[in-house]
Symmetry: C2
Subunit: 429 residues, 2 copies
């Protein structure tokens, strides 16, 4: 049987699981597609590293000889699974220039260099596929590129980071503080030792940048996206949100408002009845609205070796099957629109604060909001805390700049003990 | 700009909405794909039918002249949206033999003639695409054919019929009987005047036949699938299921058990925590398990003109973009496995029945079950009804044939007033 030769760069979790998945499923692919997929060579940094869990064939094809690897005529498709930026970029450029097809799971690289690499692949008439770069096992990129290509996509809401979703789920189910939930998640292997990029929202930001670029036919630079993580979310926020009929999720939100695109990553309150509100644990989910299919949501594993390998293998099979690559455009030459014009951004807010337990305190606070055109939808007093009262305020849709100014004054007001939390509410989700 | 010519057969809801969607989004497609999609001609049965809602161009390209339509050199892709079996089959065969690509939304035709038509398209080197034939706006076929092509698919659970899901949701939310919910759904336009094929499960059966054929790399004839509708579901069942922590859904279930494939369409109890349990109203959803991506679910609109047109347009764009068609196999030449070997099918059951309020009645009933190796997990007495007691029995996993025999004897027993409902429980969902 004919075979297609694969060269893999990097043999970490995803690399190993790609080997495993292919070993397990190659017989299905051979019978169905009448072609075999064969891993020809694997490029690693250190050939001497102990890899006792590999089969003999896989051990025999490991190399650290770059020039041998890149010039191997039997390799048709190079799969980059090493991660990182500079070196991975150099390798991918090299592969493309040698007219090899490339599949990558490298989110950071695609978010920062996607446009450039796709252009290079186009001009070299090879494929560059990157399904695994966003939400491991969820084929959201392929959906946007193919099945939904006849739609104008209007909205993307995504739970794009499994670690933070797991922590938020733990905080609710086990009644834990953020800090305790993080430690538990780390002990269970669901959060890294240095979880900064997950916790602060940066990881989700790369992902929403990639998704919105494809969905909105433009180029969204990561740097244009304001992001906020989940560090500031407390047990009380989760409880009170629940009482109000919401759950708190770290959401990537991208909306095409025709004149400009609004993109943010931050914790938001989502009505409990919304399908996204019920995505728990390490799962990821992406909810879309388009002018044809209307509403749609896909959920699945966002990370993990096998799930990521599944998307990588899907990309490989699709490259083998089709002859025309990179037919879709990702550049801002097609569409150059404003991204995040904050003068025009409106949101509903949930505010938890402690105010002084003195006559007129609430009137002072609501007065400040009123002066900045921040309309208040509801105020609920939660409990007495010494000489303060804890209140939860939910606003109408207000201009974000006005909100920022109002909050400065509220913070400074003599009626305020402390503003504890300010979280956006996605009511029209 | 170059254009690809489309010929549409049938101008009902989907046909009209395809015209509308293309009018609205063609500018996006042109800018992105550097090609225009132009509807060249529309074949209808009766050109004289009043169609006042059409624009002048569309009115001008309607014809009932078959030979003119099929021989129109400007038509590259024929889109069949007329529905039905014999005539649609003849038209599609004709189109393929004239080397036109074909896109169809015809579920019944694909379920019964899919293998044959794909073979014909392959030998004529044209595409036959049918995303819209299953779950209108949900690109489940493309997911199975492309992104998940590297997986061994093990399980498909689908809420595949919007009408029955709407009726079940209404029964729960408005506390209605099946009959009253059906009338309400009909009045609101969510159920047809003759809803037989929706209500009895036949519509969902065509869909699970198509999905399982693709997912399991074989051919699943519709006739091999046992199906049951929702007519027998009562208000009480929905209430008691809820008390037990479940919701009742009409589910297409297909499992690849290696030696044989188990496929059924019937109402089942699903644990409330499962994502499928929360899909309400007219929405459809498909939940999958594979050996790579693990678990995944996609939900969206299963019907409606625009959602279906969205999938048709996705197929058209994909045909335009790629040169290699029908690369995947749908036949039983690859894999010829047993389908529904009922001797080996095991299920959990929920049974609601009225038993005589006499000493020993329950012991007689449980004795019958015990004699047929039907293990009982729980028995709950619900209420007194005259001289009977209503009880809900939940079983362990039992052989379905044993269950059938046991139920015959239970029905005949002097301890039984009436067996009201027998519903399968999907506990491992």
């Amino acid at each position: 049987m004919d075979y297609i030769g694969i060269g893999i760069i990097g043999l970490g979790t995803v690399g190993k699981d790609l080997v495993n998945l292919l070993n397990e499923n190659n017989c299905i692919i051979e019978k169905r597609d009448k072609i075999s997929i064969k891993i020809v060579q694997i490029l690693v940094a250190d050939v001497k590293k102990k890899r006792s869990d590999l089969d003999d064939y896989t051990k025999s094809i490991i190399t650290d000889n770059q020039s041998e690897f890149f010039n191997n005529k039997k390799i048709n498709i190079i799969v980059e699974l090493m991660g990182g930026l500079t070196k991975a970029y150099d390798y991918i450029v090299k592969a493309i220039k040698l007219n090899k097809h490339v599949v990558t799971a490298n989110k950071d690289l695609i978010a920062s260099k996607g446009v450039e690499l796709i252009k290079l692949a186009k001009s070299n008439k090879v494929a560059l596929e990157f399904e695994a770069s966003v939400c491991g096992g969820i084929p959201i990129i392929n959906m946007l590129k193919t099945s939904y290509a006849g739609n104008k996509i209007k909205i993307i809401y995504g739970i794009l980071n499994g670690t933070t979703n797991y922590i938020l789920s733990l905080m609710e189910s086990n009644d834990l503080s953020f800090e305790d939930a993080l430690i538990k998640a780390q002990n269970e292997g669901y959060a890294e030792k240095n979880p900064t990029n997950d916790i602060n929202g940066l990881d989700a930001t790369s992902k929403i940048a990639i998704l919105s670029s494809i969905a909105f036919n433009t180029n969204v630079p990561m740097e244009s996206i304001k992001y906020e993580g989940i560090k500031g979310i407390s047990r009380e926020d989760i409880l009170y949100a629940k009482e109000l009929g919401y759950r708190i999720k770290l959401l990537g939100v991208a909306k095409d408002l025709e004149d400009y695109i609004k993109i943010q990553v931050n914790p938001v309150l989502i009505p409990k009845s919304h399908p996204l509100a019920n995505i728990d644990g390490v799962y990821n989910a992406v909810y879309l609205e388009g002018n044809g299919f209307d509403k749609s949501m896909i959920y699945g594993l966002g990370a993990g070796g096998l799930a990521t390998a599944s998307s990588v293998l899907g990309d490989i099979i699709n490259i083998i099957r089709k002859k025309d690559y990179n037919k879709f455009i990702w550049s801002n030459s097609y569409r150059n629109v404003k991204i995040n014009d904050s003068k025009e951004i409106y949101s509903n807010y949930y505010i938890r604060m402690h105010i002084k337990d003195i006559t007129g305190a609430l009137s002072i606070i609501t007065g400040i909001f009123g002066n900045h055109e921040v309309g208040i939808f509801s105020v609920n007093q939660k409990r007495q805390l010494g000489d303060s009262l804890e209140v939860v305020i939910v606003t109408h849709k207000v201009n974000e700049i006005n909100m920022e100014y109002a909050l400065i004054l509220v913070n400074e007001s003599k009626a305020t003990t402390k503003v504890c939390s300010v979280i956006k509410v996605e009511d029209n989700i």
